[in-house]
Amino acid sequence: MLTSVLVLAGGISHERDVSLRSGRRVADGLLAHGLEVTIRDPDASLLAHIRATRPDVVWPALHGASGEDGALRGLLDFIGVPYVGARSDAARLAWDKPTAKTIVARAGVPTPTSITLPREAFRELGAIGILEEISDEFSGPLVVKPAQGGSSQGVTIVVDREHLPRAMVDAYTYWDVALIEQRVTGTEIAVSILDTGDGPIALPAVEIEPLGGVYSYEARYTAGETRFYAPARIDPPVAERAAQVALDAHRALGLRHLSRVDLIIDGAGTPWFLEANVMPGLTETSVYPQALDAAGFDAGMAYRALAEAALR
């Protein structure tokens, strides 16, 4: 029987601040539904603490490296403590955007044309040739992002090719591998997946309309800077397709319990896969709690149900 949950929040990733906020929201929800909850910032004493206290379930509300890359989850597997969210091997695949795109594409889900470039490639082959090749091969705006990481950190939309080198530098500042993707214009939506033991369901898609046009860090975490529509203002058949695509991606990546799949719906109504998040943001301005609300679920109840699913 589930009585105690250890929520992990913080860490030393670039998304520490977001994680702290997500963790407190999860903890509040679990507390409101009768569980004993402890919040802990993971550090060198974490594993000893878990061994000593043996919480029923660990909820790793950690964003960014170690929280989402599967490393910490692998250790939890190792010491035999149940946890909420994707298993370590699946998390590792989903966390790396190019890998996730490849897996999802193989499952038949459209994803924008892209190229993955480790920094080493530029060292070996020279930046001039590679960037010229990219400029020739891609038409229209590009999105340059670190291959790993979240919250739009290090992401640049490149309209003018002259800005491509700077965008590459900014992406490499966060991670040593960059993903250059054709920008698909259309309606930006996120489909949240919930699986409390009866199989994954897609919650109503949430449409994201940043006032400034770009869903940047500021737009994500400043209330008022982005308008959200839940459900998204898309035709029902398109919404069904988007839900199916999100479920296909969730399954193809082998995720469990919860995930958020980010999609763009183009002018023809085709949903394009951008990325999947194994521990979506759960802050006051995050999409996942809005999707729960739109589906008529109480967020705290859903978090408790997820913790119970982890225990089974």
Binding site: I12, R119, R166, V169, R227, Y229
Partner: protein, 436 residues
């Protein structure tokens, strides 16, 4: 949720005052959340090393306050501040050449609060505040929150360049701008670490006097000199045209939140009323404790102790910069908390910060200290809080970051120039308290 209109998650979004525009979540601010972790060497923060203050000194003062003044210390007090503390503040300021009347002092909740009160009294939207380039980050936050037009004045290794000040005033007046005051941190400035020498102090005062511009002299670090005292305060020779701000945050401890403003009498009257309107009265308890501390402890000896601690750390930082980053340039502060580093062209300290955090070292990007997006090729390093060993390790890690970034830039600058792009739509950078 309204399904047709959607939601922006803030029902009051359209109700905010215009002055709150730009107060938004910030990626840079979020990165500083990581700097609080013990694995990270933070050269970003401006926190005094309060562990160098013996607990017994404060404990004795606390005990006496509770025993001798308990009810008064826990009661509201005067909006101008505790009279005996104001008398003692005169003694503190005398160390920097200031002679003043106790009547002209107003005790505030840290000098930051005094800064806000003065700005509130003088600034209408669009009024110009002149400030050093670079200037104190949280002063910029205050000025912008009152919709001031902050105009920077060129500085060099000796602080404000008087000729540049004269020219700035002339050009702003030619544009029809209304200049209200010059804000300056003349001794061991934040973030530059530089000190305005006496000849320039008098010249700057003369320019402001002749142009009818008030000087707001902010002096948190003046007594924390290392090798020789700073020149006397500007207020020591100009009573009518200077508002002087002081604080116990650096010479005692910031947790008390006690600072002060010394102002010409007419301004002082308004400051008292503004202080009462904002907070009724500054903390009686803190004022009594500080007053007791100043009465009974060797407070000047304690300041000397702080000087020794910070001198050793300054030396550690300058030595490590020499060893690990010899190609950069930096200021050589003779007091205070900060070193201002200049990076090679095209190296962007703000863009580089995520990589630094990944390498477990943090600094404050130069952009935080300008109102106009400048400063990307600078960073502020603080030596006040980490131990000399940590400072050295922090600079070593920083050298890995800087050299890595230079490699990256040299690879990509072969393709096209990598201009540093200013983003005028950037939100106001409100630093975490620990950074100020």
């Amino acid at each position: 949720m309204n399904e047709t209109r959607g939601t922006n998650l803030d029902p009051w979004y359209d109700s905010y005052a215009a002055r709150s525009a730009g107060l938004a979540a910030s990626e840079v601010r979020a990165l500083f959340a990581v700097a609080s972790r013990p694995e990270v060497v933070s050269l970003a923060g401006g926190m005094p090393f309060v562990s160098a203050l013996p607990k017994e000194l404060v404990q004795g003062a606390l005990d006496r306050v509770l025993n001798d003044y308990g009810p008064q210390a826990m009661q509201y007090g005067s909006g101008q501040g505790l009279p005996q503390l104001r008398e003692q503040i005169l003694e503190v300021m005398a160390l920097e050449g200031i002679r003043a009347s106790v009547d002209d002092l107003v005790v505030t909740t840290g000098s930051q609060h005094a800064l806000e009160l003065v700005t509130k009294l003088f600034i209408d939207a669009g009024d110009v505040v002149l400030a050093e380039a670079p200037t104190y980050v949280t002063a910029l936050v205050v000025f912008r929150s009152f919709q001031a037009d902050v105009q920077h004045v060129i500085t060099d290794e000796r602080g404000i360049v008087p000729e540049a000040l004269r020219e700035r005033i002339r050009s702003l007046r030619a544009e029809g701008k209304r200049i209200k005051f010059l804000y300056t941190v003349p001794s061991f400035g934040n973030p530059s670490g530089v000190t305005l020498p006496w000849d320039r102090r008098t010249e700057v005062l003369e320019i402001c006097r002749s142009e009818g511009i008030l000087v707001l002299e902010d002096n948190p670090y003046g007594l924390l000199w290392f090798d020789r005292p700073a020149p006397h305060a500007m207020r020591s020779v100009e009573e009518d045209g200077v508002i002087y701000l002081g604080t116990f945050s650096k010479t005692l401890a910031p947790g008390f939140r006690v600072g002060w403003a010394l102002a010409p009498h007419a301004i002082r009257e308004k400051l008292i009323l503004a202080n009462e309107a904002a907070i009724l009265s500054p903390s009686s308890f803190s004022q009594y404790v500080i007053s007791e501390y100043l009465s009974s402890a060797d407070w000047q000896g304690q300041i000397d102790t702080f000087r020794g601690v910070y001198r050793e750390r300054r030396d550690a930082m300058l030595g490590a910069l020499d060893d690990y980053l010899p190609d950069l340039t930096w200021t050589h502060p003779d007091g205070g908390f900060y070193v201002w580093v200049t990076l090679p062209d095209h190296l962007d300290s703000k863009a580089m910060l995520p990589r630094a955090v990944k390498e477990l070292v943090a600094y404050t990007p130069g952009t935080a200290f300008y109102s106009n997006g400048d400063g990307r090729s600078h960073m502020r390093l603080s030596f006040c809080y980490p131990t000399p060993e940590f400072i050295r390790e922090g600079i070593r890690r920083l050298s890995v970051v800087v050299n890595g970034e230079l490699d990256l830039l040299s690879e990509f600058s072969q393709t096209s120039p990598l201009p540093i792009v200013k983003d005028p739509s950037e939100p106001v950078f409100v630093p975490p308290t620990s950074l100020s």
